[in-house]
């Protein structure tokens, strides 16, 4: 196990310089349009110092105070998903050559060395699911290319939002040993306790030549992890695995559909949702075309349109598909539920539908 070292806030630029020297383009969450979103960063001073998020169902607000911390917030609307599974990208192009023959060309992105700073434990858990989906079995070249050059600087959560429930999914607020980070940070008031989780992380830390973290610092980090665990208000039902699969005809589906806009915002911010559609985008002259892959959602009609028949016409059916896939059917596919407890679908639902509350209502009455 790697040793814990300490990087003071005052010296935090050294980490950025080390990433720069190692050839990484760094990105970190920064305030933009009222939320923390991943943006390019070179200076530690551009970290979201003093930023806090207030999240409730259908509500997200940033505020700033003189807190000495850069990660005193839970999360923004994006996890790692948009970084790896592009919202819209061409898979291939086709053009007619001089002889009138069709020539196909793949358009895979080039691997790039990118460092993402401020990755949350729930994001790492979601990444592991996406890795299994996109790289296990049939390998997705586009995802693989973006994944290849990625360095993950994770930060354990000290300030979970009211919408967070990663404790109940087992994915946070502290990252697990083998969860795939290169560096893992615990932020204290005066700096970061850091440890490496990979060879690349070890190398970076070696270059920084930092002092070992003191027992007091380690205790503080543990203490705030415990506090973050205690502070979570939401959780999934304990009897979900046995009770939920039997609830396909529960009256709650119709009730939630009265509120659900079927807008798909939940699926777009969900770090584990991977549904997409593909379409052709031909040039007007008909001589060439791009084949696009775009994020789709089980809340769109196209998602269940088969041979002239719409399988899931109603909002109730679409919401049921989403929740049941995540919480009831996913274990068969991936060996775990498809929810990492990040709470994004709760905050970013325009009408504030709460997946954890819905799951409780559905599981009431137990094993029907």
């Amino acid at each position: 196990m790697s040793q814990h070292v300490f990087l003071s806030h005052r010296d935090s630029q050294r980490l950025f310089d080390a990433l720069d020297r190692a050839g990484y383009q760094a990105q970190a969450p920064q305030p933009k349009d009222g939320a923390l979103v991943f943006s390019p960063i070179r200076q530690a001073s551009d970290l979201p110092w003093g930023q806090h998020d207030t999240q409730r169902p259908g509500h997200y607000r940033l505020s700033q105070d003189d807190s000495p911390r850069a990660f005193a917030w839970a999360n923004g609307p994006q996890a790692l998903k948009p970084q790896l599974f592009a919202p819209s990208e061409p898979l291939w192009q086709v053009a007619r050559d001089a002889d009138g023959k069709l020539r196909f060309q793949a358009c895979a992105p080039k691997p790039q060395k990118r460092a993402l700073i401020g990755v949350r434990p729930c994001d790492l858990a979601a990444l592991a699911i996406h890795d299994a989906h996109f790289l296990g079995g049939e390998r997705d070249g586009h995802y693989a290319a973006r994944r290849e050059g990625l360095l993950l600087v994770a930060v354990n959560c000290s300030h979970p939002a009211q919408t967070c429930f990663c404790v109940s999914t087992g994915d946070g607020p502290a990252a697990k040993e083998d969860s795939g980070y290169d560096l893992l940070l615990d932020e204290l008031d005066d700096g970061f306790v850091i440890r490496a989780g990979s060879g690349a992380g070890e190398q970076l830390l070696a270059g920084l030549a930092l002092e070992a973290a003191t027992p007091g610092q380690l205790a503080s980090a543990k203490g705030q992890q415990h506090q973050a665990t205690q502070g979570q208000l939401r959780h999934l039902p304990d009897n979900m695995a046995s009770a939920l699969p039997n609830q396909m005809t529960h009256p709650q589906w119709d009730k939630v559909a009265e509120r659900c806009l079927a807008c798909g915002n939940c699926t777009a911010v969900c770090p584990t949702c991977f549904c997409h559609s593909e379409r052709e985008q031909p040039a007007l002259d008909g001589a060439s075309s791009e084949h696009l892959r775009e994020w789709d959602s089980c809340f769109s009609s196209g998602h269940s349109y088969l041979h002239g028949h719409l399988v899931r016409e109603s909002g109730a059916q679409r919401y049921r598909q989403w929740l049941m896939h995540k919480l009831a059917w996913w274990p068969e596919q991936f060996g775990r539920i498809g929810c990492v407890g990040c709470g994004r679908c709760i905050s970013w639902c325009p009408v504030g539908i709460d997946i954890s509350a819905e799951a409780h209502l559905l599981c009431q009455g137990g094993e029907a």
Partner: protein
């Protein structure tokens, strides 16, 4: 050599803005002119209103007795009729008069109202003749026209873009203006196609592309109420551009009645 398909662009009651999707197309307009024969397009200088064509694009609503006659003739003369924009597909802004005393409005607007001859309502083209494809939007954009023409030239039906604006907005990774700023954004019930223009500049969508597929207007309206909008303001959010579209009109009427 195979004959090029013939195209007409007809104008009814409208602001001419949707025709600009052709005229502002830039290079695509040159390409288009090589692919089809434009035989009638008054704003571009081609005049042959009675021509028989393969594709007739219709801008504007049917608001006058003369327009009612014209649309019937155009339908007879056209293999395919495609409406462009909110006026032609849902009656447009001018359909607001359908819910009011139109004579009073005409007297208020025109100096010599006796010269204005109107049907009782401003109505979309599809209420009078069969429409083969509707392109929604106020105004529509070049991308929509190009996609429709290209699909027809390939001999396939153009894709009906009826998903919600939110889907495109999220693909572009805009921060939700409703959740982060309490803006009364209509994206969750509004048809995509615009490219999520308003949220991209931090504004709320005002539903100019009309109702999306499966629009939960009731839930949308209650959310607007939660944001502090009055019954009248909620009705206006639905009525503004596509007031004659059934899903929006019905929801608006509920809130208007509640406000009285």
């Amino acid at each position: 050599m195979k004959m090029k398909p013939t195209v007409a662009v007809h104008k009814f009651s409208s602001c001419d803005g949707c025709q600009l999707a052709f005229l502002n197309a830039g290079e695509a307009l040159v390409t288009l002119a090589g692919l089809v024969d434009i035989v009638h397009f008054a704003e571009a200088g081609y005049l042959d209103e009675e021509a028989k064509v393969d594709i007739a694009f219709i801008e504007g609503s049917v608001s006058t007795p003369h327009e009612l006659e014209r649309i019937k003739t155009i339908r007879e003369n056209s293999a395919m009729v495609i409406t462009i924009g909110a006026c032609a597909t849902s009656g447009g802004l001018q359909a607001l008069r359908n819910m009011h005393d139109k004579d009073q409005w005409v007297e208020g607007v025109y100096a010599l109202p006796e010269y204005i001859e109107l049907l009782e309502d401003s109505r979309p083209i599809s209420e009078f003749v069969k429409v083969d494809l509707e392109l929604w939007g106020c105004p529509i954009n070049t991308r929509q026209v190009v996609a429709a023409v290209r699909a027809l030239l390939f001999g396939v039906l153009p894709v009906d873009e009826h998903d919600k604006v939110c889907q495109e907005c999220k693909r572009q990774q805009h921060v939700c203006v409703m959740v982060a700023k309490d803006e009364p954004c209509m994206g969750p019930v509004t048809r995509t196609g615009c490219g999520a223009i308003c949220p991209s500049v931090g504004r709320d969508c005002y539903a100019c592309y009309g109702p999306a597929e499966l629009p939960n207007t009731g839930a949308m309206a209650r959310r607007l109420e939660g944001l502090g909008l009055t019954s009248e303001a909620i009705a206006q959010r639905f009525l503004f551009i596509n007031n004659h579209a059934e899903a929006f009109r019905e929801e608006a009427i509920k809130w208007q009645e509640q406000g009285q």
